[in-house]
């Protein structure tokens, strides 16, 4: 809006952002490499001794390599649920966008409900128990799919609307059935929005705490978010290990952010505006 750059304002913005947004992350990083005694002081100061390797080895080996198991669990959960979400949501969005009928209104209503209505916890457990899926990874994966579908469908639908129908018609004339039309012709064209859905949803699922807490309790099933409570006890919290753990579980989202920053921003704003 203004013609010239305002350096004063920039300096203030950079300073404030450094204090408000960078210091907490720097605090996590430096506390993670301190020794036990210094980390307990909770100071924002340079580590007296660097215990990078020791601390990370200790975090990983705590409680019989629970963090490794948790990372495996979280990876399985994220990969499986996001893959299924992408395929199922794209199929729904395709028919929803292309075929206007009396179902369109119903489906749209259900999709919006999925965004607004808070899931009913205990009845979901009751259903999972009835299916024999409570306390199983499969059950949790299905729950994540159910809760993530709405957002994915909205993103896919908006993108499919930009693909001309002539492409469908050409494929149909060439004799493609619905499956071939969708999986061979349309789905490959959704690549860009598919990446957006994958990135945003995997960050959501990876960071999810509430659903694993309710639907997959138990130490052997822990996902990474639940490992954070290992180092806290009423009397003695091992801060260096706690922050090393936080640092480790922040790395996957950080990698996503570095590679897919634009995709994430596009996904979150587009989905939000449509919603």
């Amino acid at each position: 809006m203004k013609r010239r750059r305002s350096y004063g304002l920039s300096a203030v913005a950079i300073l404030v952002s450094a204090v408000v947004f960078v210091v907490p992350f720097a605090f996590i990083a430096i506390t993670a490499v301190m020794d036990t005694r210094q980390s307990a002081e909770l100071q924002f100061s340079w580590p007296r001794h660097f215990h990078i390797v020791d601390n990370f080895v200790e975090v990983v080996t705590t409680r019989d390599y629970m963090l490794i198991i948790a990372f495996i669990n979280s990876t399985i959960l994220t990969v499986c649920s996001v893959t299924a979400m992408v395929v199922l949501a794209a199929m729904v969005a395709f028919v929803l966008q292309r075929r206007q009928s009396r179902w369109t209104g119903v489906v749209n209503f259900l999709v919006l409900s999925g965004l607004i209505i808070p899931p009913a916890v205990v009845p979901t457990i009751w259903v999972l128990q009835g299916l024999g899926l409570f306390r199983t990874m499969v059950g949790l994966i299905l729950v994540e799919i159910a809760f993530g579908l709405s957002f994915s469908i909205l993103l896919f639908r908006a993108f499919i609307a930009t693909i001309p129908r002539e492409i469908d018609e050409a494929a149909i004339i060439d004799g493609a059935g619905p499956l071939r039309l969708f999986f061979r012709v349309i789905f490959p064209m959704l690549k860009s929005v598919t990446i957006t859905v994958i990135v945003t949803q995997s960050v959501f699922v990876f960071n999810d705490f509430t659903n694993p807490l309710y639907f997959l309790p138990g130490d052997e099933n822990a996902t990474v978010q639940l490992t954070l409570f290992n180092y806290q006890s009423q009397f003695n919290t091992q801060y260096h290990l706690l922050f090393a753990d936080i640092l480790l579980i922040t790395i996957p989202p950080l990698i996503m952010f570095m590679f897919f920053n634009r995709k994430i921003v596009a996904g979150m704003t587009a989905g939000a505006v449509k919603g």
């Binding site: 809006m1 907490p24 395709f94 179902w103 808070p118 916890v121 205990v122 009751w126 159910a146 579980i249």
Partner: protein
């Protein structure tokens, strides 16, 4: 004569229907594409949602459930701990969405203006959105420690006596809300940035030609034209704020006492205590609160938008 004509008409209608049926059966967009998603969504989201209305009217333990009418809801609105959870939820949602709207808009205006290091600033403001809520909660619990925490230490340096944040009953909920804003303001900011960037530059140029100050162009161009973004931010942060559980749980567990409990943490506590009926009643209350606030607001805000 008449009969033959009618017969022929009936015949053509018949064939048309047959063609229609065949076309529908062969449609390139078959309804069964809905099926896999519908099964998962129906079984794990819609069935539990409807079941919650029934179970909220029962005394429900691990073994069985017994219909007890509205007793759970009466208890919910009589026990001080549970009522507190209800009012806290509203306060939390209103405070967080209010702050996210104001700060998000200001940050978006700042980050679309001509300042240095715009890319750095956008990244730094947005990154917390992607970080684990539990990680953020635990980190700020440490930073907000009344005696040893970084925040109070640094406040003391500039001569301010910081409050006890999470351990003071009158500040606990607001402290958690502030952290929620810290974590979520980046999303509000990028939504506003998307809104502001889509405003045609001509308006700003015309305003500048007419001698408008930057505040005037903010007040009369950005504010009204960023309205759809405001609707989105308000709706999203209200939905998120009303359901909020992770952050409250990782920072205070609803304490001290039950002064920072919200409905979602009440649901978890009652579930852990084995009061499944009461927990589900909490879920139904949350459902009603969310629909009672979000649906009319959505309707009202989008109607105003159409009128403009």
């Amino acid at each position: 004569m008449t009969t033959t004509v009618e017969d022929r008409r009936a015949e053509t209608r018949g064939t048309a229907a047959a063609i229609g049926r065949r076309a529908r059966a062969r449609s390139a967009y078959p309804y069964w594409f809905y099926l896999p998603a519908a099964i998962v969504y129906g079984v794990l989201f819609i069935v539990p949602t409807f079941a919650s209305f029934y179970f909220s009217l029962t005394r429900w333990t691990i073994f069985d459930y017994k219909f007890i009418g509205l007793d759970n809801f009466i208890q919910f609105f009589q026990e001080p701990a549970l009522v507190k959870g209800f009012t806290n939820t509203i306060i939390y949602a209103v405070v967080t969405s209010g702050l996210k709207v104001v700060l998000g808009l200001l940050l978006a205006v700042l980050l679309t203006s001509r300042i240095v290091a715009r890319g750095y600033l956008r990244s730094v403001v947005f990154f917390p959105v992607l970080v684990s809520t539990i990680g953020v909660g635990i980190t700020f619990t440490v930073l907000m420690n009344p005696q040893h925490g970084l925040i109070n230490r640094w406040l003391a340096v500039v001569g301010v006596d910081g409050p006890a944040w999470l351990t003071d009953p009158s500040y606990a909920l607001l402290s958690v809300a502030l952290v929620d804003v810290w974590k979520g303001v980046g999303l509000a900011t990028i939504i506003y940035i998307a809104g502001i960037v889509s405003i045609p530059q001509d308006y700003f140029e015309a305003a500048r030609v007419d001698g408008a100050s930057s505040f005037q162009s903010f007040r009369h161009i950005v504010l009204p034209l960023a309205r759809p973004a405001t609707v989105t931010v308000v709706i999203l942060s209200l939905i998120g704020g009303l359901r909020s559980f992770d952050l409250v749980w990782s920072m205070t567990r609803g304490g001290p006492g039950f002064t920072s409990d919200v409905i979602a943490s009440v649901i978890y506590k009652q579930y852990q205590a084995g009061f499944y009926g009461l927990s589900t009643a909490g879920n139904v209350v949350l459902f009603l609160v969310v629909t009672a606030i979000v649906v009319p607001l959505f309707w009202f805000l989008s109607r105003r938008e159409v009128e403009q």
